[in-house]
Amino acid sequence: MTDGKLLVKDKDIVVPGEVLASGMGYLPGHGTYRDNDKIIANRLGLLTVDGKVLKTVPLAGRYMPKRNDVIIGKVIDILMSGWRLDTNSPYSAVLPLKDASFSYIAKGADLTRYFELDDYVVVKITSVTSQKLVDVTCKGPGLYKLKGGRIIQVNTHKVPRIIGKKGSMVSLIKKATDCKIIVGQNGITWVNGEPEMEVITVNAIKMIEEQSHISGLTDKVQAYLEKTTGKKIEIKIEE
């Protein structure tokens, strides 16, 4: 029992219950578990072989809060000492008073002066407990209350594709449409700009979401943006 044998290929789609490897040579990572000398997938995903560790990258499912994620939350309740935010996941988050603003908020102050119900706020997750109690902060660069614009929801697992390598995809759209775009890790996305441009931005994001598996997507999105905005986009290749 020294060698392990990989029974599927790297980057394969694996389904729950599928035996990925036999023998003790491999280690189970996220989305896999060990049953005696077998490693079995326990969720649908893309298999990644990282040295001796086997893990799966999820392709579907709801957003699960993770520490240090920047997300967009919606204020659903005002508490004694903070706000409750909907995070587009099974668990809501609490924004405590001390993490809400740089200025001092006195006890008993009117909290709606800072955040009103149904406001959208860009926040960062500071902690997630084992019981999935989520704490967030609004103190930090790029964390603030959103004013104007529109909110759309995208698949949380497609967020990296929408942002692109080093933000290449999202900056391409920003450049073409002059819209401000914030993509939360939870899939909630905020778009703000000229109304016509907002529509083009939303369509471009939907296009990325639907065709995320296609290679050469950046060129396709660029062609779409050039056609609809009537502008020529020059991308600088920064390395």
Binding site: I13, G17, K132, H213
Partner: protein, 234 residues
């Protein structure tokens, strides 16, 4: 013991199922969904969640809740099915939940709920088994963590002859003894998660029919996996 039932009314082999078709991701709005068709029985399953559980007193801090709902459409059978929950549909919802529970890692979703809705658009016996098969594909499609995908089929014993996957016609044979035995199994561990029986059979026959169902169930498990992979093929 020789059986009077030596040829099936539908010309199938004794261990042959009706044609099976499975598809994942058929309901866009759901977090996960699947269609499972076996012969003239079609089940659709939609999974929503994990999501926040209300009412709050039902929440469990140790693990999530799996809620299953089995429903036959009014036009799914020859006789109109009265809409709304019935004694039968409540029972099947309950056994479906119990059949799926051993594989779903509900500890990952404390205080939350995973809802499974199973709708049958046409039924010709074996509907709870089709429902369970559809539900496990839908759960996997929704990205729920689970140890394995449950498979289910009904076996039958017609005058001491073990037959796999009874259809409506066989179920209604009156001049011979018919036993209908729905079975659900976790393919990797061969753990039985559902076993019901309707009719008359000896202990030996029952045990033998479970053994005979196992290879058939494993074949269905392959169909389920293929259905999920098909969705992401490109």
């Amino acid at each position: 013991m020789s059986s009077k039932y030596n040829k099936r009314t539908n010309d199938r082999k004794f261990d042959e199922t009706r044609p099976i078709e499975a598809k994942a991701g058929v309901i866009k709005k759901a977090d996960g969904s699947a269609m499972f068709r076996i012969g003239k029985t079609t089940a659709y399953a939609a999974v929503y969640g994990p999501r926040e559980l209300h009412p709050k007193h039902m929440q469990d801090p140790k693990k999530g809740l799996l809620r299953c709902n089995y429903n036959m459409m009014p036009f799914s059978a020859e006789e109109r099915v009265r809409p709304g929950p019935s004694r039968r549909s409540k029972e099947i919802s309950m056994v479906t939940q119990k059949a799926l529970l051993p594989v779903v890692n509900l500890e990952d979703y404390p205080n939350a709920v995973v809802d499974v809705f199973i709708e049958l658009t046409e039924t010709d016996s074996g509907s709870r088994c089709a429902g369970i098969c559809a539900a496990s594909i839908a759960l996997a499609d929704a990205g729920i963590t689970m140890k394995d995908m449950v498979v289910s089929i009904s076996t039958g014993i017609i005058d001491h002859q073990i037959v796999v996957d009874l259809d409506g016609e066989e179920e209604h044979i009156t001049d011979l003894d018919v036993a209908d035995i729905p079975i659900a199994m976790v393919p990797s561990t061969e753990e039985i998660t559902l076993l019901q029986m309707d009719g008359k059979a000896s202990k030996e026959e029952l045990l033998k029919s479970i053994e005979e169902a196992k290879p058939v169930l494993k074949k269905i498990a392959e169909t389920q996996r293929k259905a999920l992979k098909e969705k992401y093929k490109g």
